[in-house]
Every structure is written in C-alpha cells, then in structure tokens.
Symmetry: C3
Amino acid sequence: MTDCAALFAEHGTSAVSDALDRLGVDGGLPGLAARSSARRVAGPAFTVHLEPVAPGTPAPAADYIDDVPAGAVVVLANAGRDHCTVWGDILTEVALRHGVLGTVIDGVCRDLDAIRALDYPLWSLGSYMKSGKNRVRMVAAQVEVTVRGTAVAPGDLVVADASGVLVVPSGLLDDTVRELRDVLLVEQAVRDAAAAGVPLRAARREHGYNRPPLSGARP
Amino acid sequence: MTDCAALFAEHGTSAVSDALDRLGVDGGLPGLAARSSARRVAGPAFTVHLEPVAPGTPAPAADYIDDVPAGAVVVLANAGRDHCTVWGDILTEVALRHGVLGTVIDGVCRDLDAIRALDYPLWSLGSYMKSGKNRVRMVAAQVEVTVRGTAVAPGDLVVADASGVLVVPSGLLDDTVRELRDVLLVEQAVRDAAAAGVPLRAARREHGYNRPPLSGARP
Amino acid sequence: MTDCAALFAEHGTSAVSDALDRLGVDGGLPGLAARSSARRVAGPAFTVHLEPVAPGTPAPAADYIDDVPAGAVVVLANAGRDHCTVWGDILTEVALRHGVLGTVIDGVCRDLDAIRALDYPLWSLGSYMKSGKNRVRMVAAQVEVTVRGTAVAPGDLVVADASGVLVVPSGLLDDTVRELRDVLLVEQAVRDAAAAGVPLRAARREHGYNRPPLSGARP
C-alpha cells in the first residue's frame, strides 16, 4: 500500500486517472477543489458517513479523529451540504499530530485561515463558518460511502492534487500500478518527442497515445 | 462597537458563529468567498440596495462611497447578479483613502488584479468585467437589505475571513461577546487537552464542547 | 492587431468592456475564472470546437496545437462540460514553446499543478483529472464557436485577466480602440480628482463618467 501511495502521489491524479481509464474504472470525485496547501497526497481513505438532523435535535460533533491512522486521508461523506461545516482548526491540529495526510469533504470546512497557516491539505466544495454541531451527525466511520456520486470504501486509495480528487479501489491497486507505468512511458515518449521538435500529432501517433476505449467503459 | 469589532476580527467567523448559535441566531451569508487579501475584517455594515434596470434605461454608477465612514464594511445587496459588476478599482482607491475596511458583494466585482495589488479585502460570488452602469442602479443606501437570504441592517457588525462572511445584529453585540468569551474558553481547553495527548473525544466530553441546541433554534 | 493586443493587455478587461459598452456590444464570457498565472493576456482567438462522443466510441485527443500561431489564445469550446478535461501539461509545454499566450476553456483542465509551475495563463470553469480522450472529440478548429453564450470567431481578440475573459470582434478593433482611449481619459480624470480630495460623486459628474446607454443596447 505504501508503495502505491508514494507512486500515486508522485505522479498525481491525471496519470492515475488515465491508468483507471484503461481498466474501465472511473474514480473521479467531481466538484472538489484544493482549498489549502499545494501538496499532493495519496493514502488510504478513512471514511465518515454524516447525515443531517432535524432542527433542535442534539447532535454532538463527530468523534472519529482519534481512530484515524497515520498516512490516511479522511473522507467526509456529507452529501454536498454547504449550510454547515464538518472540519475545522482543532481537527486539523489533531490530524497533523497523528500524521493524517489530508481531508476530503463532500461539503465545506471552516477555519480556512488556520488550516492554510498549518499547510494542511484539504479538498472541499468551499468554506463556510457555521458549526456542524446540532446540524449533522456521524452515522458511522469506516463504512462504504458515496462521495460526489462515487463509492469510496475504507482503504481505497485517495489521490488528490490541484486538479481534484480521485479514488482507486483497493482491489485494483496492482492493476492500476501496472497500467500507470505504461501510461507514464507513453507520456514521457510523447513529451520527449515534442520537446525535440516533433509535431504533437505525430508524436502522439508514433507512441500510441490514443487508445480506443474498453468496450463497456463507463462514460 | 470598536471593541466588539476588534474582538471579532481577532477570533474570526467560526468562533463568532458559535457564539451566535448559542443565541439561536444564524448570521451566515452563504456563497461568498474571499477574493482579495488574507486579512480578517470586522466593522459595521454600510448597506447599499441595488436593483436592475431595463435594457436601454440610463442608470448612473451608484454614488455612496463618499458617505461611508472609516472602519465600516460596505455591503452591496445586488441579489446575486453576476452579469455586471458593482465594485472596481476606483471605488477601492477611494475606500482605502477613507479607511473603509472591506467590501462584501452579493454579486461580482471587477478589477480584481488592482484590488489584490492594493491588498483590499473583498468577498463576493466571483468576478467579471462588465460595468454596472446602465445595468443596475442604487435604490437606497443605509437601509436594511437582504444578502444571501439573511437580513443586514446598517450598523450590524460584519465579520469576514477566509471561511466566509457573518453578520452580528447590532442589538446582539453584548450577548454575542459574552457567549464568544465562553466559546473561546471551551475551545482553548479542548485544544490544550488534545495537545497534551488526551483523545479528542475525551477532551470534548470533559470540557463540555457539545451543547444541545436551543429549542426553536433555526437550522 | 499587435498594437490592439498590447493596448488591451495593458488596460485589461474592465476598460475594454466599457469601450464595448459604448458600441452596444457584449463580449463577456461569464463563469470563467483565472486558474493559473497572474498575467493578463490579449491575442487573437484560435478556436477549437469539441463535442461529446457516446461511451465506448473511440475519440483521439484533439490535434490542433501544432497549428496555433505565436501570440494566439487557444479557445476551447466544450459547452461547459466538466466531466472530462481538454487541456493538460503536455499541451501547455507545447503551447509555451510555440509562444501561445494562454488558454480559455468552456470546460475544465487537468495538471493544474504543472500548469501553475510553468506560469501559463489559463481560464476555465475549474479543474478535474479525467482525460478527454474517448469522451470528447474535435469537430473543427478555426471555426466560429459559442463560448458561454457568446460567439467567438477565429481572430477575434481575446482579453483575459483576473476579472475574467472578454472577446472583441475582429471587425470592431478600431472602434474599440477609439472608445477605449476616451474611457481611459475619463477614468484617469475621475481618479485624479478623487485623489485630490474631490468627492467621487462630484468627480464623476464633472468628468462625464455616466453616459446613457445606446438605444438598443444589449442588457
């Protein structure tokens, strides 16, 4: 797992996504943008499933951060809710002390000033300031969740950078690494040819940049 | 007022929002993001109500900036219109000379390069370049307006930072300060305990981080 | 053309938009934000019309970059599609080698880390990582396209900065320059008067800042 994570973090979401395309798998989580830190991260998902509560219902802050292992990426499945936040400065401080790599929110965070000052990597739909306390509650941690329409299971590898967030299913890590290595070879060959003055259309043709889609590939 | 503003600017929107939650008040202005400057601001709202005009109708640029006092935050209620702008470089230059702290737009600004070069704090839905002249006109200044669904009256205290924009009703400043001081004590106690190695769930429980909602609290 | 481009790049989208307003022309491309580089650009559009393909249909990467002349701005008309990307790091490297000024996408790019590291100017709806290969294909290059509801023809002058993206029809360059020069004179007179302590409302009145709209002007 560690080797995959390092490899995926080195090459970023685009190359890993191309590897997934060759497997007919779409791991993209659309709509999430980097809000803090320029660092790329890759690590196993620690998932948290949240749900709203009716107004006036007591709902404590979600208590899961003590259980997140070093090297993981927290994935907060909050169904795109942007009326309240589910991540802030105290969680960031604890996460950094525990070696957590970053946080992905299908929703919004707060304390973005502090999170940026700590250079903690975070992807979300945006930011706001209202607390999630008494607005949403944790249903469960480390269960399969749906984030931006894509299923994310505990241990799936999350890859995130300035382009967005991608998830590699844990059962496909070896296949993805194999395809990724070939994607990288082709890209480097095209890049080198173009740098040497070969027109890009010729470089792409020569090095097999275009491959037909898998039959049955998802759009 | 000045003391409140300094206190709110020091602690930012999250803590002030938690204080408002304890009072059952929702002062958040959703959808507004910081577009220029990393500075937090807090100051009384100077409100401007804008409305669209029919195509071909003469509508001069809104003339209010000469009346905005030092220390105020301009709040432009333009109902989310993004087809034309209601703030730009000349207004920014005048605002800075007058000691205006920043501008909040339920709509869009232009001249964002220049505004950033001047490090002038501004929150909006985004940016564009088309003039508001002959597209929108000022109905009135210093009247109660609705911004992102929330009422803002002249003199309400606007607090804004990287997380977004919050408004504290002028009649609730003392109550908000009282609650804020307790929010800060609890947060610091939780933070200190967590830094000392106490699990966050225990630190939260020990220091009463979770409080039930007020009955009748807004969602 | 070169002179227009330099003049428009110097003064930016706001002033050029005001000049177009005087001609009753709306060249704004709403919704596009600067994603990389703080540079303003102005140059003739090199247009690319893209269309989606049915899942499972082979569709090679669009091959046009070899044909884009130095000084041009690539305009990718992808109808706002955000499920796949139509610009990335290899295209950026080639574009920079060819002296292409920047790229405007009615859609999304990938490799934003690399594009920013190269300081290549790019405007788009956002970023993602999934390849456009086998998802969209080029219909034609250098044809009239529609971008964010506005027609863009090859050779129209694209002006883009932190506020957004504007297009000046190639047949209106001389008229736009003439109006722009007057816009700049009026703006400078207002700015100088305000800097000298004249209230802005008086400065605007004195220097004819407000002009009625053209009859028949578009909203």
